[in-house]
Symmetry: C2
Subunit: 307 residues, 2 copies
């Protein structure tokens, strides 16, 4: 099966600590690499965890709080110093554009590639990126400023060719792409072999939703219904519900409640407040509501798969 | 003796590596803390090396390359989140001002302190900061953009009171500040005890010069003549002299030659190119010209003292 993996580069919140870096995740879909958020130090985290830094195609920024985007310019500068020639695409709220332009002017002289900016309307649930392999949709969130999550959807792939069967019928390798695309096979004697005998069904497409930062937001549920993996912020434990509401964040129980209502395959919590010495309280509170919950940690790679 | 220490938070160059962080140093003069340069990740380095993050009074930025200043906004943001109320002073080229203003507006809402910007003219050797304890002078450097180093000068302190002598003459503790300030002491019987009998000479003031980034620049020599510790960039080894010239950097031999001509007490090399797997070649080349050379490394604290 093709890769669909999420690697955590940072899962702390606004105040960095020695335990958790600010937000950043590497999404690998069929070896196409995207970054989600880019807090300070993300480029070093990519090196620490041996991510293919230069192969990164694009970055999706959820909102303009520093812990989600202050690593962007340093990373782009390093791309330049390391000789990148491939364009780099930034998907973010339009407020970032003038600042990024000014920073590129000051800190990133003579780049041999374009930094292409794509405006994301944080208020809309819309398709913002698409290629042959995947789609990315914005997910409007409820935070202290305009903010959106991202839904990564693998596209429906083609069926798998059953090589034992195609060999048995003497089908030449040159024809396998046609078989994969759905063609039947006509034997020299005129018999037609149905495609369904030559292939096994395609893997069902997988989905990953990134929801940080957000208050408890039930209207998110239909947008992330049935995703295979949901990253939902869990800044606070359940006793801090009032504080979470004020700051536009969620408790562990609220994150898990969203996961439960959306019937997701697995929940990953993160964006932990710096006030917690470990994440076990948050994890146990989330698991009370949604047992299939894991706690994000730096360096961890999670495979997105059907449960 | 009062503290005068330099702690290395980063001594790499433009491309960060897992061995060296981008430029930043903490200067502790009599427990007053200043930062010199603030590359990406500096706030985390301060935490890693247990520096008193919140006690920082000011930052001196040498120039507007990202590896010297991209950590500034994240650090100021964290000051705000951690409840800082004391003003924070930034000394830098005026080009940084509009960008910093825009970043503060976007990423640092509702700070309970002022970020006070002080323009530094990189072309002048001038006094840019002064308090009771120290002076900071700009040092014009020669780089691919306007750039200046900094000269930290401890002020001449007061003599030390010789407590054995003052006790012997029955001088009350309340009078010791006067003695320290130079007063003689008159005994009840009218005898005058000369101040020189009651004190030992003040410690000679110490000096530290930070010179990064710069090409070989002999006209720097009179400005840093006789400093106790010189940090001079050493981006390349001696075989890369042409490359160093093109990029406005120095070789190990050139850094050491400046140290030799300026008759400094000790040389510390740093700002190593990412192309070196270790710093031993640079160190040995520098020592050939100036034996009392040390190699900067992250987490290292160097005492500034008279040799």
């Amino acid at each position: 099966m093709e890769k669909f993996e999420v690697t955590i580069l940072g899962c702390g919140s606004a105040t960095p600590t020695l335990r958790h870096n600010p937000s950043a995740q590497m999404i690998n879909i069929h070896d196409k690499l995207s970054l989600v958020d880019c807090g300070e130090g993300t480029q070093l985290q990519m090196r620490s965890y041996k991510q293919k830094f230069m192969a990164l195609r694009n970055v999706f920024i959820s909102h303009l709080h520093g812990d989600h985007c202050l690593g962007l310019v340093g990373m782009i500068s390093s791309f330049g110093l390391l000789g990148r020639t491939k364009d780099f695409h930034v998907y973010a709220h339009e407020q970032l554009k003038p600042l990024l332009d000014e920073q590129l002017r000051l800190f990133c002289h003579g780049l041999d590639f374009e930094v292409v900016f794509h405006r994301v309307d944080s208020k809309k649930h819309a398709l913002i990126y698409e290629d042959r392999t995947m789609e990315v949709w914005s997910l409007p969130l409820k935070h202290s400023m305009e903010c959106n999550g991202f839904l990564f959807k693998e596209k429906q792939g083609l069926p798998h060719v059953n090589r034992e069967m195609t060999d048995c019928y003497g089908i030449p390798v040159s024809q396998l792409n046609n078989i994969k695309a759905g063609a039947d096979w006509t034997m020299p004697d005129g018999r037609v072999i149905a495609n369904s005998r030559l292939t096994t069904p395609a893997d069902p497409p997988r989905t990953y939703a990134y929801c940080s930062d957000t208050a408890y937001l039930p209207k998110l549920v239909p947008m992330i219904k049935g995703v295979d993996l949901l990253y939902h912020e869990t800044t606070y434990d359940n006793s801090k519900e009032a504080k979470a509401r004020v700051h536009g964040h969620s408790t562990a129980g609220q994150a898990a409640e969203i996961a439960r209502q959306a019937e997701v395959g697995q929940l990953m919590i993160g964006h932990y407040s710096a006030s917690y010495d470990d994440d076990s309280l948050l994890l146990s509170q989330a698991r009370e509501v949604f047992p299939n919950t894991i706690a994000a940690n730096e360096g961890m790679t999670v495979r997105v798969c059907k449960m």
